[in-house]
Amino acid sequence: MMVEVATEPLLTVDNLAVHFAQGGGLFGGGARVLRAVDGVSLTVRSGECVGLVGESGCGKSTLASAIVGLQAPTSGRIVIDGIPLRSGTTDRMRLARTVQMVFQDPYASLNPRRRVGELLAAPLRLHAMGDGKEIGRRVADMLRRVGLRPEHANRYPHEFSGGQRQRIGIARALILEPKLIICDEPVSALDVSIRAQIINLLVELTDSLGVATLMISHDLSVVEHMCDRVAVMYLGRIVESGPWQRIFERPSHPYTRALMAAIPDPFKPIVGRRAVASGDVPNPLTPPLGCAFHPRCPEAMAQCRQAPGPELAAIEPGHTTACWVAQRALIAS
């Protein structure tokens, strides 16, 4: 593990921004910019599992789209396996063999008109990975690895349950033997009793294949269970990041604490609970001035309400946070 830390990361996201122009009148007036991702830096080392946590609209899915080349970034740099990603000129085939994606909705992510065997064989054929016999063997092998049977290759997606479809989605993502898979909320659309199956499968497969994972989720308990490092996103920016023990034992950003408190702990009654975040997630088109979390933050001070907002700063080795309160407390101690 120590050796790998010294090597170049598998994925480097450097000061990435993805902006969308919104609305705009007939004469171009009133157009607003949605800063879906606004200056995000992130690394994933090979074999590592990094969790990206945040609520809907925080930009985590847009970031994922940019990494797999589905969304052109407005500015910033993405380097995957030593190759910088540029819109238009990037070698899509090479990118496909390096990074793959597991989608949230197992119903919409499989083409209903193609058999499972074809779904898995198509990428192998596209990338000329083996002749017909070899491809058949790989498909059967991958189906077995994800807990399905080789004869399932002849069925259509609608013949499977949600959990089984997600297994197929995972098989498709892994069949090109990528170095990194991006899992966008892979269990949130599944029934509770099925989630454990898929989480276990992902942990086991990524461990045995040595694949790095970028795990995108709103559920901190899933992220704690799976990830080595965690980054927390709020309104397009990373507000805290660090090794999982640090984040979960000593969360320093109030938003991280709010997320943790939001996980229903069945053994604590909810009536009379102290609020850790009040109000709703603001409209990303009109983010609050200063620290974007200040209107909901129980600890907000005057400085938090003014521009410029806090930048990420290390509060202990490897653990960074973008919060004036936490940074001030560190200076004071």
Partner: protein, 273 residues
């Protein structure tokens, strides 16, 4: 399970027309073009002439049966041209978007603003009458609905997870359009094509009626109606039988289109989770 009546009745009418076209040499009792016998012109339907005879003494039954060949050829081929043009333009416009989409949408709107028969007439005027010009004229006029449907479907489908997954796999645009988009929009396109065929047959009849389509002495249902127009009161069977042939074929195609819509519509196929 139920309400498939329109599918069967419509399919039945259309199958009858196709059978007539294919088996015309067997079914015809007289030569449709050369069987003229001026001595026996305008005879009412009877033993010799099942549907009566026309002004030149030709057997109307035989001409209706042979006319099916031309009318159906026009219907199928011109609609095929429409479907290909509409699908290619619509799917690329919907999937790529941008200036290409603006261009295609603009063209579609212009086409929709021109009465299609007038447009076909103009093309026919340039190309001259005849079967080939008819196919071209009708093949270039009615692709707009196909195009709109294909464009809307492509726009809806391109955000689906499986299309994204195909992109992440490194699939090219052509492969995505052919393998991921087209199979999932085939249903509505087939429905539109079926309905469009009926429209083309009617348009052929109209153009031939105006004398711009199939030229005498060759029989198409439209040109037969055209021949009949002077004597329609005195000799009603001249117009009645080709008219009925058009009526039932087009009705059949419309019913078939509705029936196909019922089975191909994803809504009606949805099942309990």
């Amino acid at each position: 399970m139920k309400m498939r009546a329109n599918l069967w009745i419509g399919g039945g009418f259309f199958a009858l027309a196709v059978t007539a076209a294919l088996l015309a040499p067997v079914l015809a009792t007289h030569d449709p073009v050369l069987g003229a016998d001026l001595m026996r012109s305008e005879e009412p339907p009877g033993r010799e002439f099942w549907f009566g005879s026309d002004t030149q003494g030709r057997d109307i039954w035989s001409r209706v049966v042979y006319g099916a060949r031309i009318s159906l050829t026009v219907g199928v081929v011109s609609q095929l041209i429409n479907s290909v043009i509409g699908t290619v333009l619509g799917i690329t416009a919907g999937y790529w978007g941008g200036w290409w989409d603006d261009l295609v949408s603009g063209l579609t709107n212009i086409m929709l603003a021109i009465p299609s028969l007038i447009f076909a007439l103009a093309i026919m005027a340039i190309l001259g009458p005849g079967l080939f010009s008819l196919l071209i004229a009708l093949g270039l006029t009615n692709w707009t609905f196909t195009c709109r449907i294909a464009r809307a479907q492509a726009m809806a489908l391109k955000s689906q997870g499986y299309v994204q997954a195909a992109k992440v796999m490194g699939s090219g645009d052509l492969s995505i359009m052919l393998r991921e988009l087209l199979p999932n929009m085939a249903g509505p396109l087939i429905v539109i094509a079926t309905l469009g065929m009926g429209g083309s047959i009617l348009a052929e009849a109209a153009l031939s009626f105006l004398g711009l389509g199939i030229q005498p002495p060759f029989p198409s249902w439209g040109s037969m109606l055209s021949d009949a127009r002077d004597n329609i009161r005195a000799v009603p069977w001249l117009a009645a039988f080709p008219g009925l042939a058009i009526f039932f074929t087009v009705l059949g195609l419309n019913l078939l289109g509705d029936g196909l819509r019922d089975i191909l519509d994803p809504q009606s196929r949805s099942r309990l989770p």
